[in-house]
Symmetry: D2
Subunit: 284 residues, 4 copies
């Protein structure tokens, strides 16, 4: 690989047709960009759509990304594409919401602190006071916003998250966010569900798994939509269990599985590997 | 391990209480048996039950297993136990039923022929004529019993299976067996369901998995009960998939996963490692 | 995806430099090809090299692949590339060599017969007579060529394989092929080694694994080079074991792992997903 | 399970012979103990040895474990057994040694703090000053003992560890402990090796793995013996990699794999599931 300036990531989606890659790569070549990585996918079923993620860079400094985007979108306009440019080095701001259980919260903070999760974490919001001390270890502000069945404090939460986050992670936040909250926030929200969806949606899935006698349990990280536990799946992890595992053990094992699934989903998200497509995801 | 005669396998289940192992192992010791292997499990939740599987042998030939069973059951009668003795060397007779798809059928026959599945296979029944030639390669009788929505030919099937099988395997047999058939047959039936139960019960689970955009698919081998796809789970296998997999690929990958799950279930079954317990299994 | 004629697969490798994808995709677009799939990789370490695999097709019949290749190579000549074109539909001819153990041989034949391995199998060569009957079930010619320490019958084998195979698979062929055989054959040979290379090279790796008390065993499919067990690795599979597994069980489990690793390697090979690069492989 | 006092764990090892379980379980029954769990294994190869782990408890308080041990050992003396009794509730004292890399250290501390590793951690010793602040977050004493090639400060380390630890964990401690240190310490030491042993022993295994082009990397937790990286293996974990992974990525992935393998080994160790047997382990 030639030495080069900071990589830029392009995600591109449009109806499939001949000439997309030729047009796109010729445009970048003429601008002096060097392509480092191409991931491409065309849906074969239904009406064809074309998806790609291209990483490129310039040999010289001083390229204006804004100008580039404008001229790129103009050049590609015949393809009716959705286009997103991202800077590899620009950290996304990840707001975290948690409830009583801390394993996913702690895992994200720990990976972040040890340099394995390149994000900024502006705050943690929780409807439980218990994690204050742990979160302050990591020098992250902690907002305790108690909720009730009647009052989910969504306006208060929205105030905190609206302007200083790029996306939210529900690290076992046990409140269902309303349609109007989702729409007012308007950005991506990643949730971890503690089962292998679509098995065991809803409450207490490890108890359900134990009662059903399954031999494998799982966890599912997905985008939040207004329909409960039905949003596009990003990542799933599984762990084998046996009759020896009590429902307590299953829960402990499950929590480890959850942290893995959530971490992998967030990792893919912040490195701009995901394209959402209706109720599914392309994870390059 | 001391040199010894043919191993005998004992499966034992009773309400938990002190003294079970002491009584049981002292009995065997006094009869001159040498214990080779012990697997034990007590359910911790609900009212405690005790389960064990013990493999033992005698140094001398000529022990009557029938007499042993009788005196064992007498000695253990205070424990109100369910007791099953099996000979390691006595092959079980496995009847196979299949429909149109042949991958599970072929996999079982091939593992059997290559010496990796110690059973006798008295016949294959199918409601499709297509596998005649493949099955005859393996020198196994093939009974073509075509079924219709109206006539499932259960009486005819029962005639074939009733007396010369110890258990049945539904290797993708796409007919639901009636409650009265199950009751008339009265022995274990193992089914392979082509999904990670309880996700996607019923028809066409790979299409469902594709439509839902899951990242992992699975297969579940379970005992058949009168409730569809709800019998005790024996084994589950999973395989990771991605957006690159078409629903055709998902199906192919799934079929490989099915053969693994079914083989492992049958392997555990014929080596007497399974104890059924209500809607669950202990798989030692 | 648009309806199209038979897919063509292009593998392309050259020193990394700007403009490769632009030139390549523009060439294909001008010829009327539609790109279906792109896999691309640049080595980041050492001096950069560029690798890609592109699947494309034409909307019209009657394109001459020979002419296309010629003009493509001319157009791409500044890049000093290695270029291979393959037809998706053109089956490769796979010669199989086996010794005493039959599990890998039987697994390949069975997958092939059930339509899951799109190759032609012109023959099986073995230095053991035992598999004659099994192979003839599959209606594949069986050449029994007994070997001795002194006489490996390489000339005789070369006669059989030289002209009617595109590659060879050593399905547990326990003879080391000489440097001069490899050079005279001049095409790819895939071997399955029954360990997780580089652990336990050489003979009897399951015994070695048992003696060392490892908790996981593996199998490695690799291209054959003149250095024993040191050729480029294509695929590796692993299975967990425990102290409960006797060396006999470890061997049985290992054989299952071998068939998986070999199958996956052959599957990738015949679908033209592999680029060899010195002592490594790119497996798209 | 009947309600009972604190569980006691018995590990028992002796030459195989008839009557062991009968004698052992009858002894416990007569003492009023209730057996909760039995794991048993006999080595089949070589001269037979018998291993078991039994968990039992008493219905009444006030049983003296010392008296029990004495009379148990007397009763079992004909079997020439090695016997270890452990209290489930008695936490082991785990000393940690680390060098420059912190991932294994941090992972153990974090699991410990979140209640998933039931040990006491009296201190962390490191030959690097960098982890002082992180360790003090967890309120664990940090001893910075810098070492050189010439002076490994083993006497100083021994002073710290000798009397207030039950075992040591080398969480990527990059110094080889001398034979005389091992002998003077005299208790178990668990090391994490950053490869799938016996592949790539010694330094820089991820670079070796990258250069060899393997498709799976691993990590191995093992007991330390005087022979480098050759001690009894406790647990191994693997992760799939591909040509896309740079040696930097392989290292990151490997570190995650290491933390898993080390955690699982320590978890099994402190719950008294391991019996060492020459150069192997029984891990119940």
């Amino acid at each position: 690989m030639m030495k080069s300036m900071e990589p830029i990531i392009l995600r591109f989606e449009c109806p499939d047709q001949p000439g997309i890659i030729a047009t796109l790569s010729t445009f970048l070549f003429k601008k002096g960009a060097n392509i480092l990585d191409v991931d491409q996918h065309s849906t074969l079923e239904e009406k064809g759509r074309f998806f790609c993620r291209i990483v490129f860079c310039f040999k010289e400094k001083g390229i204006s990304l804004t100008k580039l985007e404008t001229s790129f979108k103009k050049a590609m306009s015949p393809f009716k594409a959705n286009v997103v440019f991202s800077h590899h080095s620009q950290k996304m701001r990840m707001g975290i919401l948690a409830s009583k259980e801390s394993h996913c919260l702690a895992d994200l903070l720990y990976r972040w602190q040890s340099g394995n999760l390149p994000v900024d974490i502006p705050f943690v919001i929780s409807n439980h006071p218990d994690h204050q001390s742990m979160v302050s270890h990591f020098q992250v502000p902690y907002y305790y916003i108690p909720t009730t069945q009647e009052n989910k404090k969504e306006a208060e939460i929205l105030d905190v998250v609206k302007h200083n986050t790029d996306f939210l992670v529900l690290a076992r936040y046990m409140q269902i966010l309303s349609k109007s909250f989702l729409s007012a926030y308007g950005k991506d929200i990643i949730n971890i569900h503690h089962s292998f969806l679509p098995s065991f949606p809803g409450a207490n899935p490890y108890k359900q798994a134990f009662d059903r006698g399954v031999k494998i349990i799982g966890a599912t990280a997905h985008f939040v939509t207004s329909e409960l536990d039905a949003g596009p799946i990003i990542s799933q992890e599984v762990t084998a269990i046996s009759h020896r595992d009590s429902s307590h053990h299953i829960k402990k094992t499950g929590q480890h599985t959850e942290t893995l699934a959530l971490w992998r989903a967030v990792d893919k998200y912040v490195s701009h590997h995901i394209i959402r497509i209706k109720n599914k995801t392309i994870v390059f």
